[in-house]
């Protein structure tokens, strides 16, 4: 399955929403202070991406092109609202922390971008796959950024994992630097920009070192 491989590679690396498409920066930068927040928002975004891609793909032949954008926006808003309500009902403690940002997923342009660029032109299976791997790629960068900021900002890794995985996960916290004073810059929003910049720089450096000329991914930028 050539297209399946293509979708996986695009989502995770070649056309990664965070490092190549540079989409969804608002939640990416706001909620990457610690690994657990990053994971929580990453999973929620992934879920919304899959659900919205599937629905958009299902209705793609019945929606006229003039009104497709408002319809996609409605589909996304409905999926996000339902996920938010379900979170309030079943994961209330996590909701208290990332609830605000779950509502903001509606405005995450990764989701409308995938609906428009992929799901409205492909079948349900590939659309779901695209949503899943785009979401995974987004989560991956979120977690890397979260780990970087948590490590430098607090001197720990995986603190407060119990919010996501229950009390048993409390011991996952690793204190990397003892008696660490903390480094405020990385916890505040500028640290997120610097961190993301470093990640993108690293990715570009890594690709340039590859001997074979890799195909240049089309850069899309949006708010």
């Amino acid at each position: 399955m050539n297209q399946t491989r293509e979708i996986i590679r695009n989502g995770l690396w070649n056309n990664n929403p965070a490092t190549v498409q540079l989409l969804g920066l608002c939640p990416l930068l706001a909620v990457s202070g610690t690994v657990v927040n990053a994971l929580g928002l990453g999973f929620a975004s992934l879920l919304v991406l899959v659900v919205s891609n599937v629905i958009v793909s299902l209705i793609r032949d019945h929606v006229r092109s003039e009104i497709r954008i408002p319809v996609f926006v409605m589909v996304i808003a409905v999926s996000v609202t339902i996920i938010k309500i379900l979170m309030q009902a079943f994961f209330y403690d996590l909701f208290l922390i990332i609830g605000l940002f779950v509502a903001l997923i509606t405005t995450n342009c990764v989701i409308i971008a995938r609906a428009e660029a992929f799901a409205s032109k492909n079948n349900v299976w590939y659309s779901a796959l695209d949503g899943f791997f785009m979401g995974l790629g987004f989560t991956f960068i979120l977690v890397v950024l979260g780990a970087f900021r948590e490590l430098i900002g607090y001197g720990t890794l995986f603190q407060q994992m119990e919010l996501l995985f229950g009390e048993g996960a409390r011991h996952l916290k690793i204190v990397v630097f003892d008696h660490y004073e903390g480094f405020l810059l990385t916890i505040l929003p500028p640290g997120a920009f610097i961190g993301l910049g470093l990640i993108i720089a690293f990715k570009n450096w890594f690709e340039q070192r590859q001997p074979q000329p890799s195909s240049v991914a089309v850069q899309q930028t949006a708010t």
Binding site: I67, M74, A89, Y92
Partner: protein
């Protein structure tokens, strides 16, 4: 010659307005179906969400006054009061804990208006003897990594209020200002705000103690 284009024009207009109508109906349908799905989900989870919210509120209250100390419904035995000492001109809640009908403690909701990044909402638990059962910050926008040490899940700073009262006359200022309370490193403004608000809540309690416990729940 001139008839043909006219006919085409009116045909075009016809098809444009027809298109618009179809599009409008379609958008409307999507809106209705979407709203219906959200309404259905909300309807079926509403009770659970309300229970979660109540549970969460009760857990916060029970951190200050454990369930073993009282036998009434803490979140039902509530009055609302308005006083400058509580840091807001909005009505604030006071939860009353009783055992066998006798007052045990009150949990006063109050606001420290002068935090580093705006208001800090606090719950101040005061035993009937006038001793602080504890203070909790329940809502704030203080700097992550510094001022948010007022949260119990970030640091134990706020536990220093446990057991303090007006009677042992501690100096209600942070040490940096010559008082008796530790400040959070690099978050002195936040610390000052919380110390002052807790002090004011204690003073309010002292002035209105009888009224706080005697007033019927729900009465203004």
């Amino acid at each position: 010659m001139s008839e043909q284009p006219q006919e085409q024009n009116s045909k075009q207009e016809n098809s444009i307005s027809k298109n618009m109508l179809v599009n409008a109906v379609m958008l409307g349908l999507f809106a209705i179906v979407g709203t219906a799905i959200v309404a259905y989900t909300s309807e079926h989870t509403h009770d659970r969400v309300v229970a979660n919210q109540r549970d969460h509120g009760l857990r916060q209250l029970h951190q200050l006054i454990p369930p073993s100390l009282h036998d009434n419904d803490l979140d039902q035995d509530v009055i609302e009061v308005q006083d400058k000492l509580l840091g807001s001109n909005q009505p604030m809640k006071i939860y009353r804990a009783r055992k066998d009908g006798h007052p045990v403690a009150a949990i006063i909701e109050c606001i420290a208006p002068d935090g580093y990044s705006g208001k800090i909402k606090l719950l101040v638990g005061i035993r009937a003897s006038g001793v602080l059962a504890g203070v909790r910050a329940i809502d704030h926008m203080e700097t992550p990594g510094l001022g948010d040490a007022i949260e119990t899940r970030k640091s134990g700073w706020i536990h220093q209020f446990d057991g303090k009262s007006l009677k042992d006359e501690p100096d209600w200022r942070v040490k940096r200002d010559g008082g008796d309370f530790d400040q959070i490193t690099s978050a002195t403004i936040t610390s000052r705000a919380v110390v002052k608000a807790s002090y004011n809540a204690l003073r309010y309690f002292k002035q209105h103690q009888a009224d706080i416990f005697d007033r019927k729940a729900g009465q203004p």
